[in-house]
Symmetry: C2
Subunit: 228 residues, 2 copies
């Protein structure tokens, strides 16, 4: 059975994002996958990258450098426990699903903190092992999110610009950088502003997509996909 990690960032279980997460757990479990959820708000996950992420002495206590310190701490096994726990989940997973509401053309800070703190050098990448040779190669990722704006507002030439523009930092800058292959994003536009019926249709479409997820080909994660 395949292993899936869902990194989930919504405060309210009864929210549309909460339903999306529940459906993914149910549908993937039904397929025989083993599914783990990191429910970031429920965990009160720490988003701040600080000295507390290193247990014990620093490599250089004269001038704190987060990137260097966490790299060194990873190598000697002295990252903080919450980070190590997340790294174990990532290590085991074949697929990472990020489920969140879009905040300011990006992910909520609590999820950005997960990226900042979990994907440390040595674990997820280590020059020259980045992009296609990143240390998390052979894994898949998908960004599944809701927007406030409608699909029309995120079309090319409209005020918010093509939705793909804002996927570049997340899909290419983070996942591709670590070697992870990216499945097409799953975007639910403006669930807050549509009818109950339309919301149900969106949830059904998500369950449907998950049924054939493992047959999907990753996107070609290059500038052409995003900007042409």
């Amino acid at each position: 059975g395949r292993k899936v990690l869902i990194v989930y960032a919504h405060q309210e279980p009864r929210s549309f994002n909460g339903s999306m997460k529940r459906i993914a757990v149910e549908e993937l479990s039904k397929q025989g996958c083993s599914v783990t959820v990191s429910d970031l708000y429920a965990m009160q996950f720490e988003p701040r990258a600080t000295r507390n992420d290193v247990v014990g002495c620093l490599h250089n206590s004269e001038e704190f450098n987060y990137g260097v310190e966490t790299w060194e701490a990873y190598k000697r096994g002295s990252l903080s426990n919450d980070v190590i726990e997340e790294q174990k989940k990532v290590e085991e997973a074949d697929l990472l699903i990020f489920q969140f509401p879009l905040y300011w053309f990006s992910m909520p800070a609590i999820m950005k903190g997960w990226m900042d703190r979990v994907l440390v050098q040595g674990f997820a990448h280590e020059f020259p092992n980045c992009y296609d040779s990143g240390l998390l190669k052979n894994k898949l990722a998908m960004f599944s999110f809701t927007t406030g704006g409608s699909k029309k507002m995120y079309a090319k030439g409209s005020i918010n610009g093509d939705i793909r523009y804002l996927l570049w930092p997340m899909q290419h800058g983070i996942m591709h950088f670590c070697g992870v292959k990216v499945l097409a994003p799953h975007i639910c536009f403006a669930p807050e502003y549509v009818s109950e019926e339309k919301r149900k249709e969106m949830l059904i479409a998500w369950a449907q997509r998950l049924k054939t997820l493992w047959k999907e080909e990753p996107i070609n994660c290059s500038p052409e996909w995003y900007f042409q």
Copy 2:
């Protein structure tokens, strides 16, 4: 005298980012500006968008909706104190400078949390008052940041893509959305990997730019600037 708010996200005062922040305070103060610094790590600024941001009762306690709750709380003056303090600083400022190291093609989570929590509906935008009619119009913003990668690695056609691609969510999706005019970013490429002399040159160039900052024209914050 003009008013400047520097939102600063680095853990180490002795860092290159710390020097950039100090130089901005000195140079702008010398010009007669009144400068305020939000030193996010020193403040242990909370990046998580939670129910704690609303003091007292919720508008709808059945299903927590962060956007709705903070909008309502803003209108009745019941946002949490730390958010109100930051909003006051923004309100007074003519110019916002964001000083940070680039983390994953974006800002560190602690700064993303500042955006998520401070720029609430009602305060920074309120449909249809967004983009050119955003509620923070008549203010300027500048993103000043350091990278790990070299300038060459962030050129068009190279592996990281044009550095402008990753500026879209921050400059257009956040600042422009709130009506803020965006000055050209100030980017120090790979200060960790250059000579001490080159680092000094970068600091001098920053001080120089600040001398004529108020004469600069904002960029034309449209897709053409980013993707052509």
